[in-house]
């Protein structure tokens, strides 16, 4: 279990006064303090951890966010920013003495410009909401986390979220132009704009993926892209993970960068097939879903090239979608992977390390051994093009011992990722979940360097102080 900083008694004691002051800034429904109504805010996508906050405010303007931040800064009150609360690393987990600032009511689309290929949106607009606002002209917002129906752009910016198509289109950081954010001391700042590569330090880049440590993002300018003429997927199943890995290398080595290149191991194939009946080959040790884009003829030609490459690796099955519907069928199992694993085991931890892609076979073998050792089942999905591995560790939440083991198993996997040259997290963030593992990836002085930069933004460590950095740093 992860420790949380001690609540400040002087803040807890002044709760009523604080709520009244917040209500004066964000009136009516916008300030929440009744225990029952705080309940939905006590956890996020990492549901094993819960903590009701002191209060929740749901501002509707940047000015309100700034006023709340100024008040909290003046009174030494901790603040936890929150988007949709889908973080899988406990990024939105509150503290007992903290005010949660929820951005969900800031959900307006402020500007869409197809000529300049950008949209300006408030932080609480959902990821899919952006695409919905531009798709009538054939445009889309590229990063597509599986949680895109719910998660919000402010959360995406702070987690630097990725998606199945980021091999071609990049992650959130590569698709942003500008931000408006409120500093921990309550000042409103704009960085970037509607143009590329703003001169000066790359504040936009530093803010992206900062996990709510440096400021509260209220507005985001994103790039929007024209969609391709079409897209189609194929499925390739192999007798071993090593062979599948070689096929991935051969595809990329041939100069083709597919838009998506997803890998599933045997337990994952079985779980997904039982759930989605997508026609996945149950005798395969590993399966790839490969998607390409372009005109019908371009898709045909690329898929033919990839099929020819895969054929060299003794595949069990090769299935090229002939139509958009067949493509959807191939994706169906993969897209439902989390739900499918959820059916086998009601509780699972979704891990998120990255490894050099060449290390995959060895890493999967070690994970298999650990699975036996811990007595917990695991299924692996892998963004094969970019090395981002998602082991889903199944456990029983009603059994504290099972949860403890699952956490230890997860930590061992992440240590392994670092050991083979990768990192703790590819897209889900450090949050509280991986906070205490930061010392595995970084040396003391490297963490101190990051900590000093956090302090440059947040001198009193009031913003999300229990995340990312080992706890002794937050207290210091």
């Amino acid at each position: 279990m992860i420790a949380l900083p001690k609540p400040k008694p002087e803040v807890l004691a002044r709760r009523d006064e604080i709520v009244a002051a917040l209500r004066a800034i964000v009136p009516g429904e916008g300030t929440i303090s009744e225990p029952l109504r705080l309940k939905p805010y006590e956890t996020d996508g990492l549901t094993a951890y819960r903590m009701p906050p002191l209060a929740v405010v749901l501002p509707t303007t940047t000015a309100q966010v700034a006023a709340v931040m100024r008040y909290c800064h003046q009174h030494g009150i901790r603040v936890v920013p929150r988007g949709a609360g889908t973080s899988l690393s406990g990024g939105a987990l509150p503290l007992e003495d903290a005010v949660v600032i929820g951005l969900m009511r800031m959900n307006r689309i402020l500007e869409v410009d197809f000529e300049d290929r950008l949209a300006v949106v408030e932080a609480g607009v959902t990821n899919l909401g952006i695409t919905k606002a531009v798709e009538h002209e054939g445009f889309f917002y590229a990063p597509d986390p599986s949680s895109q129906l719910a998660c919000m752009i402010g959360g995406n910016v702070n987690m630097n979220s990725g998606g199945a198509h980021c091999l071609k289109y990049g992650v959130t950081a590569n698709n942003l132009l500008g931000l408006t954010f409120v500093t921990p001391t309550g000042e409103i700042v704009q960085v970037g704009g509607a143009h590329l590569d703003a001169a000066g330090y790359d504040w936009l880049g530093l803010m992206t993926g900062s996990e709510g440590q440096l400021g509260i993002v209220t507005e985001v300018t994103v790039r929007i892209l024209r969609g391709p003429e079409g897209a189609r997927a194929m499925l390739a199943a192999f007798k071993g993970t090593e062979i599948a890995g070689q096929a991935v290398d051969a595809i990329i080595g041939s100069g083709i960068i597919p838009v998506a290149l997803e890998f599933m191991d045997k337990p994952c194939i079985h779980a997904c097939e039982a759930f989605a009946h997508a026609g996945y080959p149950l005798d395969a040790e590993a399966m790839l879903i490969i998607e390409v884009e372009g005109s019908e003829a371009e898709q045909d030609s690329l898929l033919a090239k990839i099929k020819e490459i895969c054929a060299r690796f003794d595949p069990i099955s090769l299935k090229v979608a002939q139509t958009a519907e067949e493509s959807v069928a191939i994706w169906k199992g993969r897209k439902g992977a989390f739900g499918a694993v959820g059916r086998i085991s009601p509780d699972y931890l979704c891990m998120d390390g990255t490894i050099p892609t060449g290390e995959l076979p060895g890493v999967l073998k070690r994970i298999g051994e650990m699975s036996e050792q811990y007595g917990l089942k695991v299924a692996n999905v892998f963004h094969a093009g970019d090395g981002n591995l998602h082991p889903l560790i199944m456990f029983d939440a009603n059994d504290p011992e099972s949860f403890r083991k699952a956490e230890a198993f997860g930590a061992d996997i992440l240590k392994l990722c670092v050991e083979v040259g990768g990192c703790l997290t590819g897209e889900h963030g450090v949050g509280v979940e991986k906070r205490d593992l930061m010392g595995v990836q970084f040396a003391r002085h490297e963490l101190d360097q990051q900590r000093r930069i956090k302090t440059a933004f947040d001198p009193a460590w009031l913003l999300n102080p229990h995340k990312v950095f080992p706890l002794e740093d937050a207290a210091a």
Binding site: F114, E115, R117, L118, M159, N160, G162, N174, T183, E187, Q190, V191, G193, A194, H195, L196, D197, A198, A199, G200, Y201, D202, G205, L206, Q213, R226, G227, P228, D249, I252, G255, I256, I257, S295, A297, E298, S301, T354, T357, G358, H383, D386, G387, N388, G421, C423, L424, G429, V430, K434, M438, A443, H445, E446, Q449, Q450, R452, I453, A456, F457
Partner: protein
């Protein structure tokens, strides 16, 4: 260049030199091969610390799309290694030797420290988007790592982005890891003779907003340089497998026909054209002239170009109209005009090249609002507590 130059062969020696500089409060000018020494403001330092002897590719995994190299490795060496495997640095950093009159090529560390990207930036991203990992020496003389050697990594604050484009003021980069991509089988370009710049930028926008995967979108105005074309010409580039380029070229030509007379440039001509645009050659900037880069939203490009022309300068538009290269008289009045037009367009300017007196006299980058400037000063102090790394390079007094 200052008289006293040190160029260690080892990272640990760089760390020692920086620690010593901080201890003795001795400012250091930081450079690689010094090919962009005349970029931004002149640095006041008695000592120069160069990474030029810190060379060599340390890791190259073509199938993992990753290359690592020590900071002093010359860019051509990296490009040659990548070309050997049919790969490239997608942001196509410019070769600024001609602009700066430098003999030696850029080092990879210098390219990252200046975050300089070429035409493909509009669709493929900037150098900073392809920077996956760094090692650098901070002001205290500590070797710090950020990122790594994998393509997806959100562990901790992203110091790669902070250091990219920080012009050696926050740390001395000692090793960088970049994402690489396959080079396209072939390329071709469409040249469109347009009646005016606004129409040209509209054509570029239409191309970039098409589903055909345009990878370069530039406009050479008739008043671009001494050897400028007779008419304004908008150029759009396609790069892919040959059959795709042929197909998309035809579709794009169809879609863009309403904007003006079209001409197709085949692979060789196309490649030469984009190398020239990348290096701002069409500007034909004279030795005594200053050069600015102004970044704005693309639709504001024509206004910037018109204002620059009215003030007596010439320009070249890249990034779909969003990057305006300007060449003109190296005077404070001309600089003020560029600053004003960039501000009016809510964009950013960089005084890219100028004689030293002008670079020392004016702000070479836009001022930041007070709240951000205060954070900037604290971040600088968090990395370089004694302020010894390239003082004054980006802003006076910082």
């Amino acid at each position: 260049m200052s008289a006293d130059q040190i160029a260690p062969h080892r990272e640990s020696d760089i760390a020692r030199e920086v620690a010593l500089a901080t201890e003795t409060r001795t400012p250091l000018a930081i450079e690689g091969n010094g090919s962009k020494r005349a970029l931004l403001r002149p640095v006041q330092a008695a000592r120069t610390l160069s990474t030029r002897n810190l060379t060599g590719i340390t890791l190259y995994r073509p199938t993992e799309l990753i290359i690592s190299a020590r900071a002093g490795t010359p860019l051509p060496e990296i490009e040659a290694a990548l070309a050997g495997k049919g790969q490239m640095l997608a942001p196509e950093p410019p070769d600024t030797r001609a602009l700066f009159g430098a003999d030696l090529p850029a080092t990879i560390g210098g390219i990252v420290a200046t975050n300089l990207s070429g035409p493909r930036r509009i669709t493929a991203g900037a150098i900073r988007d392809h920077l996956m990992g760094i090692r650098f020496v901070n002001g205290a003389g500590e070797v710090v790592r950020s990122g790594g050697r994998v393509l997806k990594n959100v562990t901790g604050l992203d110091l790669c982005k902070l250091l990219a484009g920080s012009h050696g003021t926050l740390g001395v980069l000692t090793e960088v890891t970049l994402k690489v991509l396959p080079a396209a089988e072939t390329s071709a370009s469409l040249g469109i003779r347009v009646p005016d710049i606004a129409t040209g930028v509209k054509a570029l926008s239409a191309g970039l907003g098409s589903p055909y995967g345009v990878t370069g979108a530039a406009l050479i105005p008739a008043f671009c340089g001494p050897d400028g074309p007779a008419n304004h010409v908008a150029f759009l580039r396609l790069e892919d497998f040959a059959e795709s380029v042929a197909y998309r070229g035809a579709r794009l030509a169809e879609a863009l026909a309403p904007y003006g007379d079209l001409r197709m440039l085949e692979a060789e001509e196309s490649t030469a054209l984009w190398a020239a645009i990348r290096d701002a050659q069409p500007l034909g900037a004279g030795d005594a002239e200053a050069i600015w880069r102004v970044s704005v939203r693309p639709s504001a490009g024509p206004g910037v170009a018109a204002a620059a022309q009215a003030a007596g300068a010439r320009c070249l538009l890249d990034w779909g109209g969003g990057l305006v290269w300007i060449a003109g008289p190296a005077t404070e009045a001309m600089h003020a005009a560029v600053v004003a037009v960039a501000a009016a367009a809510r964009g950013a300017f960089t005084l890219f090249r100028a004689p030293e007196p002008l670079r020392a006299a004016v702000a070479v980058l836009p001022e930041e609002p007070a709240a951000l400037a205060a954070i900037g000063a604290r971040v600088k102090a968090a990395l370089d507590p004694a302020g010894v790394l390239n003082p004054g390079r980006m802003r006076a007094g910082l």
